[in-house]
């Protein structure tokens, strides 16, 4: 394991703790929760209107929403007798920042592949 992980995490992920990341990944690890997120990216919903889209119980949908809420992917607000759920953008932005870092790794891999292939044509890499 590289020794400088803490330094690195603070630098790039803006002091997001590993526990935060684990909650984030857990949040997106489930098909229903990803579907809920994609609905909420378009519009806010009440928990009951979300539940109407799925064949599972209201309580099960509420549980999925709670997992998303713990990961800071969504926020929930009581409005009258309804609980309104909406996307909490910071959660998505965190995921985006991490993907951007990983993308850099792949860009460099692509550069190295291009260098290897260039050798075939007698060009110095």
């Amino acid at each position: 394991m590289p020794p400088d992980r803490l330094t690195y995490n603070q630098m790039v992920v803006d002091e997001v703790s590993d526990a935060d990341l684990d909650r984030l990944f857990q949040a997106f690890a489930d098909t229903t929760r990803r579907d809920i997120v994609s609905r909420l990216l378009r519009n806010e919903h009440s928990v009951s209107s979300l539940a109407a889209h799925y064949s599972m119980s209201f309580a099960a949908v509420q549980k999925h929403v709670a997992i998303l809420e713990r990961a800071s992917v969504v926020s929930k607000e009581k409005r009258g007798r309804e609980q309104i759920v909406r996307i909490h953008l910071v959660g998505i932005e965190r995921a985006r920042a991490l993907l951007a870092e990983y993308e850099t790794i792949w860009r460099r891999r692509v550069d190295r592949i291009a260098d290897i292939l260039a050798e075939d044509q007698g060009e110095p890499s």
Binding site: F25, W106, V110
Partner: protein, 161 residues
Amino acid sequence: MSVISTTQNPDRLNFTIVAEFDATVDRVWQIWADPRQLERWWGPPTWPATFDTHEFVEGGKALYYMTGPDGEKARGWWRITSLDAPSSLSFDDGFADDDWNPIDNLGVTKTAVTLEDVDGRTRMTTVATFVSAEQMNTLIEMGMEEGMSLAMGQIDAVLAG
């Protein structure tokens, strides 16, 4: 530049990178199929990869380690979930302990690679999907090591590519 486009899907924790190379599909397939070529680009220069096992068939496994600047080794495994030479390849990629046992709680990255001919060049589309935060962090740390070395003098090579 070889990279044509990249697309991030944060709500699915995956991204797509599309690159084009001045080489035939068969030639680009070789950089995946031949472990000696694969280890020249899979790991960053500061964490070079060595593939001990490379069973390049559907259901096959690969075992590799990456050697860090202080000689430390990070071991990894692939399981090839589909393979259709020379045009497509999917594999799961995870970390392993010193006896090559998968470290399950570090999770898995799923990678799907497609090669296609575009007017004599080869377009390579790679989709990487993460399943765990630990996995992503560790990979990114290794990439950061590379970032340091690039900053210290390899920028020219990248620009020339």
